[in-house]
Symmetry: C2
Subunit: 450 residues, 2 copies
């Protein structure tokens, strides 16, 4: 059967809404029967909690669990609040351990305790183990479902072990080989199990140079390792080197996408995880903090310029170049911090040290500064007929480019050292800083040279 992407048209949604209003289960069931769960998830964002639950209750538990797992955490938290504990337990029993733990983490403590108490015994112990880890480290990302083999087993023993686990629909890419203390020895790819004779010993087909990650490794580092070494799954070991779980590439794809989204928001000066179609108030609130900081910066600028009222009254044209100075400062700052953020996300291979880095940034700024100041010097000579002012503007511009480069480079490094996302430095933060910096440099130059 060829795949056709399910298209959620306005017509279909309206027809569906009507069926929902009439609680027309037959229509709903038949129209969703052939639809991929991922598409049903998308559809649910269109309806309220009661309606969504009504739809889900018509579907199989498997599909229901899959859909609830696909919802974004915020929506899910709100949605699951209308579920009874028994209903939740049923759903969670159909999830992989990592997904189960994620959802339990979002629920109120009391509810999650009740659910855990009545989970299937295997899942229960797996989940309890997983709940110990932070969300954003390897331990919080891993699943416990994996197939362990010993190196004196034969291929056929491995296959038997797979068969035991195969009742749940988890995807496996490999069998993990451990010693008697559960210490990871290596892996055997499924492909190998298929190709080798059933009596072949695991120790003869083991890949023993596997890359593993420790439980406390940060999720973005896990992503980086899986990307760099092209891994479809990576085993997670504890400090004793014992195999405790595995992370598959699909989880990491989500980590990478979320990271990119977080960066984009920080760089745009949006302070909450918000989307255009979220509520009005949420949209307003997500934008306010940086706007307020910008306003505060602007008021400071106004006060600051007030000190130079005399100079401004004498030579009004001084004011003309404030936008030029500030815009260039802002652009230089954003460019510098953008490059630093990039190098922090994709670390370069040999870290040359802060000093060498600053020297490089300084040279780039020196060259750009010289070039641009000369252009501005020429242009102001030509258009404004005020030699002294031309010198002041281009000299100040030169200084602003140097300083903004420096601030744009050092700020994300500092923010990163302090443990925050360096992309924070690459948005309105740096523009506001550069604005104030540029103004100060410009008016100091004015005061000295006019």
């Amino acid at each position: 059967m060829e795949f056709e992407e399910f298209e959620l048209t306005k017509e279909f949604r309206d027809r569906f809404q009507q069926a929902l209003d009439e609680r027309d289960g037959a229509f709903i069931y038949s129209s969703l029967e052939e639809v991929n769960p991922a598409d049903i998830t998308a559809l649910l964002y269109e309806f309220n909690n009661e309606e969504s639950k009504y739809v889900l209750d018509l579907l199989s538990l498997q599909v229901r669990a899959r859909i609830i797992n696909d919802l974004d955490p915020e929506t899910r938290k709100n949605f699951l609040s209308i579920y009874k504990v028994e209903e939740l337990t049923e759903v969670i029993n159909h999830l992989d351990s990592d997904d189960a733990a994620d959802i339990l983490n979002e629920l109120p403590i009391k509810t999650s305790e009740e659910i855990i108490a009545s989970l299937d015994p295997d899942l229960k112990s797996q989940v309890i183990d997983l709940l110990r880890y932070d969300e954003n480290v390897a331990g919080g990302l891993m699943a416990k479902e994996l197939i362990k083999a010993r190196d004196n087993w034969t291929v056929v023993q491995c296959i038997d072990e797979i068969r035991k686990q195969a009742e749940n629909e988890t995807k496996f890419y490999a069998v993990w080989v451990v010693d008697e203390n559960d210490k990871l020895l290596g892996r055997v790819a499924l492909q190998q199990l298929i190709l080798k004779d059933s009596k072949t010993l695991v120790k003869d087909i083991i890949e023993d140079d596997v890359i593993s990650v420790e439980t406390y490794l940060e999720d973005r580092e896990v992503a980086e390792i899986m990307r760099k070494y092209d891994l479809e799954s990576v085993p997670v070991v504890n400090v004793q080197g014992q195999l405790v779980g595995r992370i598959t590439i699909d989880d990491v794809v989500d980590v990478i996408s979320e990271q990119a989204e977080e960066e984009r928001q920080l760089m745009s000066g949006i302070t909450e995880d918000v989307e255009e179609d979220d509520s009005l108030w949420r949209n307003v609130r997500a934008r306010l903090p940086w706007l307020l900081i910008g306003i505060f910066g602007g008021m400071l600028s106004a006060r600051f310029m007030g000190f130079f009222e005399q100079e401004l009254a004498k030579v009004t044209a001084i004011a003309f170049f404030v936008p030029l100075i500030q815009a260039t400062g802002g652009n230089v700052g954003i460019q510098s911090s953008g490059l630093v953020v990039q190098s922090l996300v994709n670390p370069s291979y040999v870290d040359e040290g802060l000093w060498k880095r600053l020297m490089k940034v300084f040279s780039v700024a020196l060259l750009n500064g010289l070039l641009l100041s000369l252009i501005v010097l020429g242009a102001t000579f030509l258009f404004f007929n005020n030699n002294r002012l031309s010198f002041i503007v281009s000299f100040a511009l030169f200084c602003v480019i140097l300083f903004s480069s420096f601030v744009g480079t050092i700020t994300p490094l500092l923010i990163n050292k302090l443990g925050f996302n360096p992309a924070l430095a690459s948005g309105p933060f740096i523009t506001t800083t550069s604005d104030l910096l540029g103004l100060t440099i410009y008016f100091l130059t004015v005061q000295v040279m006019i």
Copy 2:
């Protein structure tokens, strides 16, 4: 064996460089023997082309091919220019078809024609087929290596087919089932082949609702589909529905990472794919275009303010609020465009249409505008003692917020419609536009109200 990430210390690099200078092959070979090819790739960025080639020639062809494939295209193009055609052919013969095609695409036409002519026959026909596709569509991303089965085959026949292909080290996740015309019917996961009895027929274990993509689908859409449906590999079909290749998740991870990097650069106003440790001149050049545009905008602003010299001379304080107006305009513009870019990258499920979207943006801007104008009105009353100016500033601020929201929303949509990356609108482009817009609104208000 537990994995230890290879750490490239300055000491090791220096020792390695010395070995290179002395052409001490024994040391180099022994120090790289246990190192993962991905780490050797990283090491090569530290040396010149001749040195790198010397190192690679010491390694096996397998590893050499893997490393050359891992290099970034720019570096590789430069590096491979010192290779002879026969050497290149040898390397490319050890690559998967998709990687081979990528590298051939980077070489001068004459060289690549010569290489293709002497490739292994299978790879040759695969590569010729792949070279027809653009780099950034499914056809350009796919590999031809895949295992085709018929639905009347048994499990054991599938396994024989896998065995035939197993000489090359390609990873397989599934067997693809096709009819006599190569039309895709479905897939059988490797896991199934392991678990089912060897006489089971493919038609009894086929998953027939597989998601496939067509050859011309854009790479970012392929990534989105694989992410949404959690696929580790996706079959590629032509317009006739015939199976022509497959894309695996590791290729898509690279697409996602590159996309994020491209966005970050556009948002930072960097016009070339550049990294901090690239050459000085390259760094200067990548930054110049947006700085020049900013300077041009600044000069325009200066000229524009020149028209209001009389007003400025009368009330110098008018100038004080230029930074406030411009900073807020810039922030609002960046926030709006940031949100639009986000919604274009992760499309919402039902597109409400442009009109509804603009109304929403307008409401958010109205609320933020009112709030911020009131704050500024209060603050200017308090600190500047000029009632009329306070009114002018806060009224202009209100208008600037409304207009910048509008421009910030519409610009990325337009840029996207024109086929460019909308993130372009979310950097210095929008700041420069907002600066000019803000200044115009402010001084028009001044002229009318003063």
